[in-house]
C-alpha cells in the first residue's frame, strides 16, 4: 500500500477557506474586497505585527497571517499618520496574505488604506490576540499539514481510529458494513484523506465528494448517514491502530501468541499494527472488533500472554519469557 500512497502538493489554504472554516470567530472587514479572499496562507504560525510597525520588518514572511491587536493599536496611536505610513510602506513586498485585527478593534485608517492599496484582506475577530494566535495556529497546524490519499477503510471502533488496509476485493467494505451494524462508526471507505500533523499524528477523513458513502459489490453505493443515522458516521478521526487484511497463506506464519505488536509506517507515522488473515469462516468484523479490544487492553497494561508466561514460569521455576510487553 505504500506505493499507492503519494503525498500531494505543498498544502495551502486560501484566506476565503480560512474564513469559511472559522465562520463563528472571524469575519471579513467590510472595507475589504471579497475578491482578495483568494490569497493563500502557506505558513502555520500566526505572528503579531509588533516590531514591524516600529520599522523592524526582517521577520515578515510571505504566506503568513499577521495579527494586529491592542499593543499594535496603542503603538499606532502614539505615532503620527505620516510616520506610520512610512513604516507600513516598507512592509509591502512581503506582507501579502492578510491581517487579522483582534479584540473587535477597527483597523486604523492608515492600515486600512495600506491594505486597500496592496490588495490585502483584513479579517476581524472579537478574540484577544493570544487566544486568536493559539486557536488559529492549532487550526492551521492541521489544515496545512502534508496530506495524501490512501486506499483503505477508516473506522471509529470503540472510539479508536482504526485504519484497515488490504487489497481490493478482500472485503473491507463488507467489514465496514458489519462494524456499522455493530454500532461502530464509518469515517471513510475506500478513499481516505490523511494528514500528517507534526510528524506524530495521522488525522483521517473522507474527501467531501464521497463522505458517508460505502460501496458494496452487488448492492451499489449506500449513504451510511442517511441509512443508519448520524451516529453511524464520524467526520474525522486520528488513526492510532492499523489492521492489514490479507489472504490466508498456509505457508505463512501468523502470530499465534499475541506477544508483541508489529509496527507499520503509514505516511511517516509509525503505528502499532496487526495482520489478520482472511479465510472462509473467519468473521472479519468480529476479528477487527476483538483486535481493537486487545489494543485497548494492552494499552492499559493487560496482557494475557504475559500472565500465561508468569504462570508457566512459576510452575517450572524459571523466569523465561516473562518480560512485560508494552503496546
Amino acid at each position: 500500500m505504500e506505493d499507492s500512497a503519494t503525498p500531494t502538493q505543498m498544502p495551502a489554504l486560501t484566506v476565503g477557506e480560512f474564513l469559511e472554516k472559522n465562520r463563528s470567530a472571524v469575519r471579513l472587514d467590510p472595507g475589504s474586497d471579497p475578491a482578495l479572499l483568494a490569497r493563500r496562507i502557506t505558513k502555520k504560525r500566526l505572528q503579531k505585527l509588533g516590531m514591524a510597525l516600529a520599522g523592524f520588518a526582517e521577520y515578515i514572511q510571505d504566506g503568513r497571517i499577521y495579527v494586529f491587536g491592542n499593543t499594535e493599536a496603542s503603538y499606532c496611536r502614539s505615532r503620527s499618520a505620516e510616520q506610520l505610513r512610512e513604516v507600513i510602506a516598507k512592509l509591502a513586498p512581503r506582507l501579502n496574505t492578510g491581517i487579522l485585527v483582534t479584540q473587535g478593534l477597527a483597523p486604523p485608517p492608515v492600515l486600512a488604506e495600506f491594505a486597500r492599496q496592496q490588495g490585502l484582506p483584513i479579517l476581524r475577530t472579537e478574540l484577544d490576540s493570544s487566544t486568536a494566535i493559539y486557536r488559529f495556529t492549532e487550526f492551521l497546524e492541521i489544515e496545512l499539514s502534508p496530506r495524501m490519499i490512501l486506499h483503505g477503510l477508516l473506522m471509529d471502533v470503540y472510539g479508536l481510529g482504526v485504519l484497515i488496509g488490504g487489497e481490493s476485493g478482500i472485503g473491507k467494505s463488507e467489514c465496514a458494513l458489519e462494524l456499522i451494524l455493530r454500532g461502530h462508526r464509518l469515517v471513510a471507505d475506500d478513499v481516505v484523506d490523511l494528514r500528517n500533523v507534526g510528524g506524530k499524528h495521522l488525522i483521517g477523513e473522507s474527501p467531501p465528494p464521497v463522505r458517508n458513502l460505502l460501496e458494496l459489490r452487488g448492492i451499489g453505493i449506500l449513504n451510511v448517514r442517511e441509512m443508519f443515522g448520524i451516529s453511524a458516521v464520524s467526520r474525522m478521526k486520528e488513526v492510532i491502530f492499523y489492521i492489514h487484511l490479507e489472504r490466508w497463506h498456509s505457508q505463512k506464519a501468523y502470530d499465534r501468541l499475541g506477544f508483541s505488536w508489529q509496527r507499520r509506517e503509514v505516511f511517516g507515522v509509525e503505528l502499532p499494527s496487526m495482520s489478520i488473515p482472511v479465510a472462509p469462516g473467519r468473521n472479519l468484523s468480529v476479528l477487527v472488533e476483538v483486535a481493537c479490544r486487545v489494543f485497548l487492553m494492552r494499552s492499559s497494561g493487560q496482557h494475557p500472554m504475559g500472565d500465561l508466561c508468569r504462570i508457566l514460569a512459576d510452575i517450572s521455576g524459571s523466569s523465561d519469557g516473562t518480560e512485560e510487553v508494552a503496546p
Binding site: 499507492s4 500512497a5 503519494t6 503525498p7 500531494t8 502538493q9 495524501m148 490519499i149 486506499h151 481490493s168 476485493g169 471507505d189 475506500d190 478513499v191 474527501p207 465528494p209 464521497v210 458513502l213 460501496e215 453505493i221
Partner: protein, 94 residues
C-alpha cells in the same frame, strides 16, 4: 509497470456508469491499477468506484494511468479501449 496518459472523451466525463464499467474492467485483472489527475500527485485505486468518482474527470480531462502486475499489458489495453470507446456508453452495464 506500464504508464499512459489517457483523455476522457465521452460527453458526460467519468460519471457513475462509466466509473462502474472502468472498475469492472480493472477488477478482471490481477494487476494493480492506479489513476491520477495530472495536476495532482495522489493516486486513486482503479478498482475503487468511490475513488474514481472522486476524480470527477470531465470531458477532455486527462488521467495518468499506471498498471503494475503480470497481466499489465492486457489490462492497459482494455483500459485504453474503454477510454477510446467512451466507456461503452449506450451498452448494458456488465
Amino acid at each position: 509497470m506500464v504508464q499512459k496518459v489517457l483523455t476522457v472523451n465521452n460527453p458526460l466525463g467519468i460519471h457513475a456508469r462509466a466509473a462502474a464499467r472502468l472498475v469492472a474492467a480493472a477488477g478482471r485483472f490481477r494487476s494493480r491499477i492506479f489513476l491520477a489527475r495530472p495536476d495532482r500527485l495522489e493516486w486513486i485505486d482503479g478498482k475503487s468506484i468511490l475513488g474514481i468518482l472522486m476524480l470527477a474527470a470531465s470531458r477532455g480531462s486527462q488521467l495518468r494511468v499506471t498498471v503494475e502486475g503480470d497481466d499489465e499489458a492486457a489490462a492497459m489495453a482494455e483500459i485504453e479501449r474503454l477510454f477510446a470507446n467512451a466507456f461503452d456508453e449506450g451498452t448494458e452495464l456488465p
